[in-house]
């Protein structure tokens, strides 16, 4: 009874998340193409079979993995370097920190547009300008890398803030003890800083991956998944199938597959993170 006030929220959550999911499962068992009205009929798991037989789907799944893990790992490494920099005292540290955080505050669509037009454009993009007037068409020659560049740019500040918090929570006396024990800067970093940051790194990777696996805006804005499906990821591919190919049954089946896979991976990843934070909690 004490929990009764939570009931409306629970009902609302079920209505907006579970009912659409059940509907999606229902659609995924239908052969239903919007271009052919009246064609809708029940086909059991035929859609799932064709999803797994679809070589494009497998390629796109691989793209998704590369895009998600690649962006997260590069962002974590860059974030770590910047956090180490910001953990030192220097004049203007506050300003530098604010400037470094701004990419995270920009709307993803605006950020993607910024990369596509201002930075990567073959004729008036800043990157070609800096490279001495080159005319490389980044977006069509390196489509996946272009999308990832924008994602890394947006996510580095998040990793940086997370790791900076980690660095600042590091007890100073341990570092002093290590210095007296004969450790140089590199040994302190590998022997003390990295173990201390481990759980912050894990958290950053898991949160970043959960978020980035759903990337749509950057792909849509920068490459439209092209050329072909060279830079498409699963959310974009499903969108293409549903709203450009109008194949509701197929795309619903893909959606279900993706959701199930994501849930499995996320559960393991989150369990890992909570375990290391739980263990750390009992430490102090």
């Amino acid at each position: 009874m004490r929990r009764a006030p939570l009931l409306p929220a629970l009902v609302f959550t079920i209505v907006v998340t579970q009912i659409p999911f059940l509907l999606t499962i229902y659609y995924s068992l239908q052969s239903w193409n919007l271009v052919r009205p009246g064609s809708q009929h029940f086909v059991w798991f035929e859609n799932y079979v064709s999803v797994f037989a679809d070589s494009q789907f497998r390629g796109v799944a691989l793209n998704t993995i590369i895009m998600t893990l690649g962006s997260v790992i590069i962002a974590v490494i860059l974030g770590l370097l910047l956090a180490l920099l910001l953990n030192r005292h220097f004049i203007g540290r506050g300003v530098v920190r604010t400037l470094l955080v701004t990419p995270f505050l920009i709307t993803p669509v605006a950020a993607a547009l910024l990369w596509k037009t201002t930075l990567l454009d073959p004729t008036y993009g800043l990157i070609n300008f800096v490279l001495g007037g080159q005319t490389i068409d980044w977006v069509s020659e390196y489509p996946l890398a272009s999308v990832m560049a924008a994602l890394v740019w947006q996510w580095t500040p998040f990793m940086m803030l997370l790791l900076l918090a980690g660095l600042q929570s590091m007890p100073g006396d341990q570092v002093e003890a290590a210095r007296v024990d004969g450790a140089g800067a590199w040994a302190i970093f590998t022997e003390l800083t990295l173990p201390h940051l481990r759980r912050f790194l894990e958290l950053g990777i898991v949160l970043g991956a959960i978020y980035l696996v759903n990337t749509f805006d950057a792909v849509y804005m920068i490459t439209q998944g092209g050329p072909g499906t060279a830079s498409a990821n699963l959310p974009f591919y499903i969108y293409q199938r549903a709203f450009l190919g109008f194949d509701i049954g197929q795309s619903a089946a893909m959606g279900v597959v993706v959701v199930v896979l994501t849930i499995i991976v996320a559960t393991f990843a989150l369990r890992l993170v909570f375990r290391s934070f739980g263990a750390a909690g009992s430490e102090s």
Binding site: Q174, R179, V180, D181, G182, E191, P195, H196
Partner: protein
């Protein structure tokens, strides 16, 4: 094995402010255990950290075995330090914590584990070697911190209040363990504490600091018997020495209507001063057996019975504001409110200049 010299060493945290350590001169001879003691904020930790290389030396120099270490980073000073917080590495096991200084010096794995095993044996840590620090009790962590310091056989040990996180009984036990360990290893040691009992029981020599300035550097008995000023006199000893500003009269000073004689040398040194600060330790005041007839009359405020002895806190019968501590026998019959008569042992009176606090010679 080393000689440590502080030569006019100073540390000024904020330019223009009073130095936290002010022109410290101190020599620790080979194998000696020197205790730095003083009230909170007196600069003990700062002095130790200057020697450790964790705090810059703003003026003067610090030498280890004749080598000026002002510009030598901590890792090259060949010292080992035990921190008040122990500063164990939480992600490493006890074994790896203790092996860390050896690993950092590139010692072979076999030699590392031999040394760690020896140290663990010595400190009774053998069965905990595979645990992480968080799974140890406070006393065990303290021993791991000690172990991490001794495995390396450094030239100097530095300890900053290593016992302050232990309970009273453990503290007494560990205190003597550290002293005997240091004796055995014969490594020069600088030990910081604010507890004068620790200082007196452990130190070969004790340096008393106040506001960053060295007051006196001497053996415990010398500090106790011949404090150079009223501050040291009041700081060393528990309960503290009775320090009273008394008026001169005749060949001494008056205390509670009776005259406490002062030696000729003291009287000469005091010159024409009207008052002298007189210090008498609680054990140099005795209860007058003849009862209330003669002696200094005082009224008892508190009786502390410790079993083997007792301490009477009293105020002068004729002057409420002057209080005294007296050591009495273990089974005293004196109670709160009683009037007692006291006698001063004239040979044990310390005299200090009333304005500067300096000891009057004699």
């Amino acid at each position: 094995m080393a000689e440590v010299v502080f030569d006019q060493a100073s540390r000024i945290y904020t330019p223009g402010a009073k130095p936290a350590v002010d022109k410290l001169d101190l020599t620790v001879t080979d194998g000696e255990l020197v205790v730095l003691v003083g009230p909170s904020g007196s600069g003990k930790s700062t002095a130790l950290r200057m020697l450790a290389g964790l705090e810059p030396i703003d003026a003067g120099s610090v030498r280890i075995d004749g080598r000026d270490v002002v510009d030598v980073p901590s890792k090259d000073r060949d010292i080992a330090m035990v921190f008040q917080s122990y500063a164990l590495y939480p992600a490493k096991t006890v074994r790896d914590n203790m092996a860390f200084p050896l690993k950092m010096r590139g010692m072979g794995k076999a030699e590392q584990s031999k040394r760690v095993a020896d140290a663990a044996e010595l400190l009774g840590l053998t069965e905990y070697l595979d645990r992480k620090p968080k799974a140890l009790s406070g006393g065990q962590r303290q021993r791991v911190a000690m172990g991490r310091a001794i495995v390396r056989e450094p030239r100097v040990f530095l300890m900053d209040e290593p016992l302050s996180n232990l309970d009273a009984k453990m503290r007494v036990q560990t205190r003597s363990q550290i002293a005997s360990l240091q004796n055995r290893l014969e490594v020069s040691t600088v030990y910081v504490t604010h507890d004068q009992v620790e200082a007196m029981t452990m130190g070969d020599r004790v340096a008393v600091l106040r506001d960053g300035q060295l007051q006196q550097y001497a053996t415990p008995s010398e500090l106790y018997d011949h404090p150079v000023n009223a501050f040291v006199a009041g700081f060393i000893g528990s309960p503290a020495m009775n320090l009273l500003d008394l008026r001169r009269s005749g060949d001494g000073v008056t205390l509670g209507g009776t005259e406490v004689p002062l030696s000729r040398a003291v009287r000469d040194a005091a010159g024409s001063a009207e008052t002298v600060t007189v210090g008498v330790r609680p054990e140099d005041l005795s209860l007058d057996a003849e009862g209330v007839g003669s002696g200094i009359k005082a009224v008892v405020d508190v009786v502390e019975e410790l079993g083997s002895e007792s301490y009477l806190y009293a105020h002068m019968a004729e002057d409420e504001s002057t209080t005294l501590v007296v050591r009495g026998p273990g089974r005293t019959t004196v109670r709160y409110g009683d009037t007692i008569a006291l006698r001063v042992n004239p040979d044990a009176v310390h005299s200090f200049d009333a304005s500067s606090g300096e000891r009057l010679p004699g």
